[in-house]
């Protein structure tokens, strides 16, 4: 606006611009509210995200190339080291599995005697993590496997340590995992030592146990496993160990901080549980807290 033109009159273009701004703001707010509430917009969003699937795939490319370069450039001595470590790990796992197999046989025999329902078998599928950064306030993970390779909505995602999360969104070639630490996530759990039932809440980057009764027998260092209640997560998978306990605001309950058992920050691959459908609901079993053999820790939805 040149200074000699006197005081600026209101230009029609300005008014139109403001009106357009208001219209777009209203549209944006409407979208935010609808998306936040969930509902029909979720389905439209799911369709629209198909558009961005190739984008995500391309964005994950550098990570994949990095991995393969890293693999290719590995030196002989490092490979030999890796090999030795893995061989030892395999030996230990094999020995543990053999012991578990005996326990599983015994368990099956006892169940047979009790006439209890057979637990569903479960097998796993390996899925690569697509290395891309999503919204940092949300705890999500994108996998490079989708409905094309048999991933289904609601599948439980684990790694060698324990439960990682669940699948909340499936696209043909990718799928999204809601991590345990997401603020939207809550998970029925039990203390492995004595079966006290608790709920593990995601607190954005960390895990928290809420509403622990003061009288309950829960101690720092206890390992917490899935309880199987609610039916989505099979019982007996490690979630984490209790790192700290403190009274909550009401002083009537305890809050616990949980150290996750799974590697929630980047790994390379995760396991998807595929549960063969039979329904049964045994009490929370407590398998060894390190690595449950998928075939024995079975439980179905």
């Amino acid at each position: 606006m040149p200074s000699y033109a006197g005081p600026a009159p209101v230009r029609p273009a300005d008014v139109a611009g403001t009106l357009r701004l208001l219209a777009y703001l209203a549209l944006g707010v409407a979208l935010i509210v609808l998306d936040h509430r969930g509902g029909w917009l979720q389905q439209i969003r799911g369709k629209a995200e198909m558009l961005t699937e190739p984008l995500r795939w391309v964005a994950g490319l550098p990570g994949r190339i990095g991995n393969s370069v890293h693999d290719d450039a590995a030196t002989r001595s490092r490979l030999a080291d890796d090999n030795r470590v893995l061989r030892n790990a395999l030996l230990i796992s094999g020995a543990r599995l053999a012991r578990l197999q005996a326990a599983a046989n015994e368990n099956a025999r006892l169940r047979g005697m009790l006439g209890a329902v057979e637990r569903g078998e479960l097998d796993v599928q390996l899925a690569p993590i697509l290395n891309i950064d999503l919204d940092p306030t949300r705890q999500r993970l994108v996998l490079g496997a989708g409905s094309g390779t048999g991933v289904r909505m609601g599948q439980v995602v684990i790694d060698a340590g324990g439960v990682l999360g669940q699948i909340i969104d499936v696209k043909p070639a990718t799928s999204t995992v809601l991590l345990l630490t997401d603020p939207d996530h809550a998970l029925p759990a039990a203390v492995a030592r004595n079966g006290v039932r608790l709920v593990v809440y995601g607190r954005g980057g960390r895990l928290e146990l809420a509403n622990i009764p003061l009288s309950s027998d829960v101690k720092v260092g206890d390992s917490v496993v899935t309880s199987g209640l609610g039916g989505r997560f099979p019982a007996g998978f490690p979630i984490g160990t209790i790192a700290a306990l403190r009274p909550d605001d009401s002083r009537a309950f305890l809050l616990g901080d949980l150290r996750p058992a799974a590697q929630l920050d980047r790994g390379r691959e995760v396991l998807l549980l595929r549960l063969n459908a039979t329904t049964s609901r045994p009490a929370a079993a407590a398998p060894p807290a390190t690595a449950p053999a998928p075939a024995t820790a079975g439980e179905s939805r």
């Binding site: 558009l51 999503l134 940092p136």
Partner: protein, 160 residues
């Protein structure tokens, strides 16, 4: 012919900005990730106001929301606000030296952070850690090279 050719620069730059937003960074660097899309949208709103306006900013934001998996409409809202302010001050901004432009962009990016924080507050979503407030500074520093790069690409195309 040349017009048709340099029309491709705009969608391509938006695509590149989206990709840069998704690219994995080490955890330590994540807070400093500049808001590439905002820089690209700002450039086009300043330089080509007749084809890049509020609607363009809104659409870019919507795409980014879908790609990055946040609340749908959040970035659309943020970019629309930014585009509106830029549009109002475009006549002045265009004749600023690059250093002042960068400063203005830095302030706009800071404002964008505030808008984002307000949206998160209103929805009861978790806030970003405090370290993310450094990103606007990096964005401002990147403005000059980005501006020169885009100018070079566009003018190069035009000369053809």
């Amino acid at each position: 012919m040349s017009r048709w050719r340099h029309n491709w620069v705009m969608p391509l730059s938006v695509l590149a900005a989206l990709l840069l937003g998704l690219l994995p960074l080490p955890d330590l660097l994540t807070p400093f990730r500049p808001y590439w899309l905002a820089l690209v949208v700002a450039y086009w709103v300043i330089e080509k106001p007749d084809s890049a306006g509020l609607g363009f900013a809104f659409l870019c934001g919507l795409l980014a929301d879908l790609a990055i998996g946040g609340v749908l409409g959040e970035q659309a809202l943020r970019l629309t606000v930014m585009a509106f302010i830029l549009d109002r001050f475009r006549a002045r901004l265009r004749f600023f030296p690059l250093s002042q432009q960068a400063l203005a962009i830095g302030v706009l990016l800071l404002n964008d952070r505030i808008v984002s924080a307000a949206i998160h507050l209103a929805l009861g979503e978790p806030q970003l850690p405090a370290s993310f407030w450094w990103a606007p500074i990096l964005g401002a520093l990147l403005w000059a090279p980005l501006y020169l790069l885009f100018d070079a690409i566009r003018l190069g195309r035009r000369a053809r």
